[in-house]
């Protein structure tokens, strides 16, 4: 392979792998700063929606660099990245709903809180003051 192209590919792989791991570590450290469980679920999103797909795509590029392009591995990698984004979104939604319904304390400024209101009670105004 062309040496300049190989160097560029190596740099790209390094950025994808280390950048993805950086997102995961940042999310883990941010768990100490978030005050309630709903904020922690929000903090988790960049790790699963951006960090892990970056690691998987970087791993695919490294695999291709060493052993050549395999179409099955390409399809599996794309499927993994897509599944990570979609599945982690749905999982976060389910988990956030369960966390609210289980009565764990939320920040009192959280608005709207439609799960705490009876149906037909009308829409709750979003919070308008500064946070």
């Amino acid at each position: 392979m062309n040496p300049a192209l190989d160097l560029a590919l190596t740099v790209l792989i390094a950025v994808l792998l280390i950048g993805g791991a950086f997102w995961m570590l940042t999310a883990a450290l941010s768990m100490f700063h978030a005050r309630d469980s709903l904020s922690r679920i929000n903090v988790l999103s960049p790790a699963t929606g951006l960090g892990l797909p970056m690691i998987v795509i970087g791993a695919f590029l490294q695999h291709t660099r060493t052993t050549g392009l395999d179409p099955f591995v390409l399809v599996k990698t794309l499927l993994t990245a897509l599944a990570l984004i979609i599945v982690s979104s749905i999982a976060s939604n389910v988990l956030a709903r369960a966390a609210y319904l289980s009565g764990s304390p939320v920040d009192p400024r959280t608005a709207p809180q439609d799960l705490a209101r009876a149906p037909g009670e009308g829409e709750q105004e979003p919070h308008s003051e500064d946070r």
């Binding site: 995961m24 988790l44 988990l95 709903r97």
Partner: protein, 86 residues
Amino acid sequence: MTIILWTTVVLLGAAILVGLFRVATAPDPASRAVVGDLVFFSGIGVLVLLGLVNSSAAAVDAALIASVLGILATVALARILTKGRR
């Protein structure tokens, strides 16, 4: 390239350790579930990278299965949190 791979493994391992410490010190069960999710996904990352170090193709399949079926663990935790109510 080996240095890049091991740096990533060390960063992910640090994320797992910080996450486990946060699980131990979390104030409410919902936070424990969230941080446990993060530890699970970091574990997938370590699995992919160890597959690269050993140049084994099975890690790709393992990552695919874990990412597709990972929702089951989260949904189970969510049902436990609400004590079976939906």
